[in-house]
Assembly symmetry: C2
Homo-oligomer: 337 residues x 2
């Protein structure tokens, strides 16, 4: 069911609220752990990191770590520290991403690098990344350290792959999927995998939750790329057309380009390769994307990843936690933020 359909039928659209409510207490502990781990002797670090952490966002990744652990019957406290580590890695990559993208708006607020500067963003990102590893070392599981250090390397690889394929309108869809798999889905994958590991789950359950996270992450990023051409600036927390302004070639663009006439191709090249954009070009691009049915195609792709994710949970017994996780999958597709 599309976002519009939910709005017109006045039924409750899937949201993150159930998951957030279910883990409210645990997330308070995660937030406490995060604030405690930010403590250091350098005020500027506390300012920047604190600012970012307070922006907060959805906290989807740490929520997934908590939920995965408890889905496997975990009753302890270790997942709180590891969920914090996952959020630190995410925040560090956001900081370095801001330097890379030169995004002026992130999660609806000014990005760290417009308030401070690139330099501080790089260094505070490094600090958060190190703190993430300190949290993992404190936890003491080499399996967890292995998963998250591998994920960190893969994220960096994904970002560099994206850089290397910038302005390439002939990028194959499979290569695009490899990029978002590395830069985004990989941390979702690690977040859920780590949850299962901490619960000492069977290798079958570990594998199922790992794949669940990956597929959810793929759908998340595909939806994100589509939202850049349909959401309103306020609800997404970034401007519609940010990707456009940066000339970031995402799947909606690749699909549109592939289906475009020669004249339309020339226009897309002008916008994404030459980066010479007139004020009315975004509107024209959005219309073109719409005409070629690119957003539906992206949405269908996202839906197929969500179906995979749903499959992964089949081996778990029916509990209210499992239902909540399934609702989270629906949220990913219809979210507007």
């Amino acid at each position: 069911m599309s976002k519009l359909a939910y709005a017109s039928e006045k039924i409750k659209a899937p949201s993150l609220v159930s998951l957030q409510t279910l883990f409210e207490g645990r997330m308070d502990q995660v937030n406490e752990k995060i604030l405690k781990s930010l403590e250091c002797s350098v005020p500027l670090i506390q300012d920047i990191a604190g600012y970012l952490i307070k922006q907060g966002g959805k906290r989807l990744r740490p929520l997934l770590t908590l939920a995965s652990a408890e889905l496997c019957g975990y009753k302890g406290h270790r997942h709180v520290g590891l969920a914090s580590a996952v959020e630190f890695i995410h925040t560090a990559t956001l900081l370095h991403d801001d330097v890379v993208d030169e995004s002026a708006l992130r999660r609806g607020a000014a990005t760290a690098n417009t308030i401070w500067n690139n330099t501080a963003s790089v260094l505070v990102g490094d600090f958060l990344f190190s703190r993430a590893f300190q949290l993992m070392v404190e936890d003491g599981s080499l399996d967890v350290l292995k998963v998250l250090s591998q994920a960190s390397a893969t994220i960096a690889e994904g970002e560099v792959m994206q850089l290397a394929s910038a302005r390439n309108l002939n990028l194959r869809e499979e290569n695009y999927l490899a990029v978002i798999g590395a830069k985004t889905a990989c941390l979702f994958e690690a977040a859920t995998h780590v949850g299962a590991l901490v619960a000492d789950a069977s290798s079958e359950k570990c594998e199922a939750l790992r794949k669940f996270g990956f597929n959810l992450g793929m759908a998340f990023q595909l939806t994100d790329d589509a939202l850049d051409y349909c959401a309103t600036g306020e609800s997404l927390g970034k401007h519609v057309g940010d990707d456009f302004a940066e000339g970031k070639v995402t799947l909606p663009i690749l699909i549109t380009y592939h289906a475009a006439t020669e004249i339309e191709k020339a226009f897309i090249k002008k916008c994404f390769v030459d980066l010479t954009q007139e004020p009315q070009d975004l509107t024209r691009m959005i219309k073109l994307i719409h005409d070629k049915g690119a957003l539906q195609a992206v949405s269908a792709k996202a839906q197929s990843y969500l179906n995979n994710a749903r499959e992964c949970l089949k081996i778990f017994e029916e509990t209210s936690l499992k239902s909540t996780l399934l609702e989270t999958l629906d949220f990913v597709l219809v979210r507007n933020h």
Copy 2:
């Protein structure tokens, strides 16, 4: 004995050659490990990281890890992987440092960010940092992971402290020492500490080697800061006056400012606070530094750290390896690269 004295008396100046020769075979293994760990599916990462690693530099930090382990009687191979991890962390911080400093020259060659760009430097730095942790996880010692994750966080803190105290000519010497302790000496400290840990040395020896590394690192950075106002561009591998051009307030500047007349203070402020520099200003600054005896003062400070480092080795029996490490201390003071 000063560098000039060595030159005029035609005796062999202390160098790194003995240490490098002693560990030639092991360092080949380290280089092999480094190249193997750089393997990934993204050509741009291999290009940038490979370029940097080939520039090579002195490899002082991994050498210290190897030497510390073997000074404690270690006969295995684990120190090779950990020395590689230490070099990766060092190279990652250099990459992020280049973004921060906007240095055009590093180790005598163009920096990565002038050849590629800031973006790539940030991301490849992240990749190397992650790989360093993967190497540690592969090694499997939580003690080692603890030391190096703490060091990484401290380095980032040190860099941010430096940023926060930029252009502050009234910075207290102790605060300056805290900055270089965190951004530089800390990794030397970790490099030697990790060597002792891998050798399963007594806590007394671990502590001695940890302190040895820290003191050596302090002397190293103090000498580096002094060299910026006395070495030739070719031998140091960066231009004399780089720190000056960036308005980086180092100890030679703090000492000179403290001893300066009001007129001289106004000149120093113009150069380091307003950053309005005329072509002849560097020459005038070097003369001022010379007149106030600032380089001798910095050298004496470095010497006192080296004396501390020498003390730390007292508990180890007299071996050729120990003599070589002591020679390395002399090298730190008289090096011109």
